[in-house]
């Protein structure tokens, strides 16, 4: 076991104390400013929770489409109604999913992913089951309210004491924000890249859906729709816009979804720019049945020894 000598520890304390004490102070982010920010988050969270929970409960009961449509579509345009109906249906469906994720920075900076990143998998949103394999070596299983992630060997060695899997309650993968826009921006890079309930909430926030005409794919024909939400509520200047292009087949299934999220990025002074993520989803095999088995307990690093449960 490698120990730290007392003089090294003293030096570390001195350096870290300097680093701590010289963190640039911003009165707007501490004290009352911090308190106001927490209260704003709380208010947003309560508002959005009610909205999204309504969608989730309905999906679980298998009556999502009817309920959400009655809530959302009164007076809606045909394009909005079609997309809302398809998302509501997807929220209670199962399917195969392929995703291609790309990332692009318009300012110098380090990319967070090997771009493009490929994800293949299957989801059953009604039964809360899922399997995803990523081209960067990660693998995720979703079983009920738990997400199990298998790390590639180098990361498993450094981060989880050699155990290959981590376990987290799904609710802990929730975004640190309280709005549909922020949730989508977050889910985009979480265990649940496809989140029909958040998309429904984003639509409800006032998106204008455009019919872009006919479209077809292998074995299906349908219609393409598109909507953009600029500066989504609750994203606090972090998200510039979210644009979705949705292809629906004649049976009302979502065949593909291209989601582009534009983040505000700032580099060195004077080099403010954008960080652009795209996720191109394709869906197939609607209604498939499958089972998922959690990994053996001995191979799991239990992530949270939490004293407080939320």
């Amino acid at each position: 076991m490698e120990d730290v000598h007392a003089d090294e520890a003293r030096e570390a304390r001195r350096l870290l104390a300097t680093a701590f004490e010289t963190v640039p102070a911003d009165p707007a982010t501490a004290g009352d400013g911090l308190l106001r920010a927490v209260r704003r988050r709380d208010a947003r969270r309560r508002r959005t929770r009610a909205l999204v929970a309504a969608g989730g409960a309905a999906a679980a009961a298998g009556i999502a489409a009817a309920v959400l449509l009655s809530v959302t579509v009164a007076g809606a345009t045909p394009a909005l109604a079609a997309v809302t109906s398809a998302l509501s249906r997807a929220a209670a469906d199962s399917f195969h999913m392929n995703v291609i994720v790309t990332e692009h920075l318009t300012v110098p900076g380090r990319l967070g992913i090997p771009s493009p990143l490929y994800i293949t998998g299957k989801l059953d949103l009604k039964r809360n089951l899922g399997e995803e394999t990523l081209s960067n070596g990660w693998r995720t299983l979703i079983v009920g309210q738990k997400a199990y992630t298998k790390l590639p060997p180098p990361q498993a060695r450094t981060d989880t004491g050699g155990k290959r899997w981590t376990e987290e309650p799904l609710q802990d993968a929730e975004p640190p924000y309280g709005s549909a826009g922020a949730q989508l921006a977050w889910d985009f890079n979480s265990d649940r890249p496809f989140n029909p309930q958040a998309l429904l909430a984003l639509l409800k926030s006032g998106a204008k859906v455009l019919n872009e005409g006919s479209v077809s794919g292998p074995g299906w024909t349908g219609t393409r729709y598109r909507f953009t939400v600029s500066h989504p509520d609750g994203t606090a200047g972090v998200v510039d816009s979210i644009t979705c292009t949705v292809d629906l087949d004649r049976q009302g299934h979502i065949r593909s979804l291209a989601q582009t999220t534009v983040f505000v990025a700032s580099g060195k002074p004077g080099t403010a720019g954008k960080m652009i993520y795209t996720a191109d989803f394709t869906f197939s095999d609607f209604g498939i049945r499958f089972s998922v088995t959690p990994p053996p307990a001995s191979q799991i690093d239990h992530d949270l020894g939490v004293a407080v449960q939320f």
Binding site: M1, V4, E8, A12, L15, L16, T18, A19, F20, E21, T22, V23, P24, D26, A30, G31, L34, L35, A37, V38, R41, D42, R45, V101, L105, V107, G109, R110, L111, G112, L117, N136, W138, T140, T149, T158, D159, G161, T166, E168, A173, P176, W186, N189, S190, F263, A265, S266, G267, P269, M275, Y277, D301, D303, L304, G305, V306, A307, V308, Q309
Partner: protein, 181 residues
């Protein structure tokens, strides 16, 4: 009766954030290596604390609860598989007197060096040598063994020294480069 309870609850939480918010923001800046992420992390963690405030014994040590929430939330965020660290503006140079400026410069270098370390090593150094927590408590917070804490501390300090040395010589090179150019 209920209303009075809610007011007292709010008052205690408010007093806690006013007195200890800045401390946790500074600590989160060291943990994340990014002031914007730190602000986000502390706000999200305080919201969790606020929602649990009535269920926990905050008369004891609310700092300890918040610290645990911050560490867990950060870990949760890190797990998001390709969450990008936004390029952030460079920290402005200090304009105060020489000592203060030098201290500021050292602080900036240490924060930059910390930000280069692997996530777990950085967390161990911050919790062990800045928060001054015992090894066992750091191990409990990070969900690893005390032995792993020792190893991370040893390797983290070595990497910190190397990184500081790199950063220091780059700063010197940049200065001499701009002087000759």
């Amino acid at each position: 009766m209920m209303r009075r309870g809610a007011e007292e609850f709010d008052e205690r939480f408010t007093a806690f954030v006013r007195s200890r918010g800045e401390y946790h923001l500074r600590m989160a800046t060291l943990l994340t290596g990014n002031p914007d992420a730190a602000e986000d992390l502390v706000q999200a963690s305080l919201l969790k604390l606020y929602r649990a405030w009535s269920r926990i014994d905050t008369a004891g040590d609310p700092d300890a609860y918040l610290r645990r929430i911050i560490v867990n939330t950060r870990r949760s965020w890190w797990r998001a598989r390709w969450r990008q660290e936004t390029p952030v503006p460079e920290v402005p140079e200090a304009a105060a007197g020489e000592d203060a400026a030098e201290r500021q410069a050292v602080g900036t270098l240490v924060r930059q060096a910390l930000a280069r370390l692997p996530r777990q090593q950085r967390a161990v150094l911050v919790l062990r040598y800045c928060e001054d927590l015992p090894e066992a408590e750091v191990a409990s917070l990070l969900g690893c063994s005390a032995g792993a804490v020792k190893t991370h501390a040893h390797r983290g300090l070595r990497a910190l020294r190397e990184s500081l040395s790199d950063l220091d010589s780059s700063a010197v090179n940049e200065t001499s480069g701009s002087a000759s150019g």
